[in-house]
Amino acid sequence: MAYNNNTPLATETIAATQQPIHDNYADIETLINVNHVGFNVADQGKHKFVTMPNQAAPGPLPLANEINMFSRQSTLTLRPEVCVRRNDGTVIEMTSSLNAAPGWAFTSSGLLLKWGSATALAADYGAGGTVIAFPVAATIPVYAVTLSVFLTTRYPGGVDLNRIATLVNVAAANFTVLASSRTLQAAPAGNVDFYYLALGTV
């Protein structure tokens, strides 16, 4: 029976209200048993787990001294993701990520990490370095501000190539890497592969 939130009425006899009252009690217990530890046991009222059906984007707006946690269908990962929304309207998709290389992930504070590998061109030595654009796709979040980029030079095969990748500049959509000789202030003998890890905000 559906829960009746308008029973008993003042003009009703107990014979008329017994059934809806009885049904309401059963409905209350059925509802409480979803996600919660139910009545009459040690942990009653606590949460076994919290299931969050998707909410319409952008998600519910909390009051000034509150924060909301909810689930919504991500346009980035195309699956339900846990989000928090602040009173200022900002939303953090704290479970969104692309577990791959290259890949990306949000931290629960809203920082966006991106990682991957790329190649700085020897031919760009005299031109200020090679501009490396972060991968772009509808399913990849975009930096508003790139806070930092870390590079590690790659030596395929473990051979000392006497080359080094050095960070030159960081922008929202890209970063610039200089390929050079490691032991000389000169152009390298070839291109320089490297791994990168970037932190930023959206």
Binding site: Q18, F39, N40, K48, F49, V50, S97, S108, T152, Y155
Partner: protein
């Protein structure tokens, strides 16, 4: 605290029989809602003051358009931790678990299933360093990124050190350490950070 009775009133109950049971039920419902929740009549009625998660086993079933939050007794930290459950991913994606031990630290990267490991090593020229293993450390099943930095023990000698990555896998990294200004292998200490996951 009165026991909740979900089978009252019965049709043949007299009011004096049903009345105390109904009263007890309303009291029990009030008491239950008052745990974790803003109670009836309060400004925050129905909202959650906080959410207490007794640890749960087995893993609850999550629907396709849902995501779950629960507590679990972690086999890594041996304490209750929180994590997410997805419909398509077995097990738990923890977001509070971590082992912040120097040299063998790891932590989840926010509850998306990614793990970050950080530690250190030492070597000369071409060599390999493996990620620490142990009952308190999850093993990578996939690895996506590593960054390695020289640790300068001497500010002058350290200025002439260089490290490169040859490649990496779920168990560790193959590295190359050398003098920066010479094509000569060199002994050095270094720190690293690695990102991967332990998902199937």
């Amino acid at each position: 605290m009165p026991d909740y009775n979900n089978n009252i009133p019965l049709p043949d109950d007299y009011l004096d029989e049903s009345q105390p049971l109904m009263r007890d039920n309303f009291a029990a419902f009030y008491d239950l809602i008052n745990i974790n929740h803003g109670n009836f009549g309060a400004a925050d009625e129905g909202k959650h003051k906080w959410v207490t998660f007794p640890t749960q086993q087995p893993v609850p079933v999550i629907g396709a358009n849902e995501i779950g939050v629960r507590g679990i007794l972690s086999t890594f930290t041996n304490r209750p931790e929180m994590g997410f459950n997805r419909n398509a991913v077995p097990g738990l994606l923890p977001f509070t678990v971590s082992v912040p031990a120097i040299g063998r630290a790891w932590a989840p990267l926010g509850g998306n299933g990614l793990l970050i490991k950080t530690g250190g090593g030492a070597g000369t020229g071409r060599h390999r360093t493996d990620f620490p293993v142990g009952p308190e450390i999850p093993r990578f099943t996939h690895i996506y990124a590593v960054q390695v930095n020289v640790i300068t023990l001497d500010q002058f000698a350290g200025n002439n050190l260089f490290i490169a990555v040859e490649n990496f896998d779920t168990l560790g990294m193959n590295l190359y350490t050398a003098q920066r200004t010479q094509v000569n292998p060199a002994l050095m200490y270094y720190s690293y950070v690695a990102i991967g996951d332990d998902l199937p």
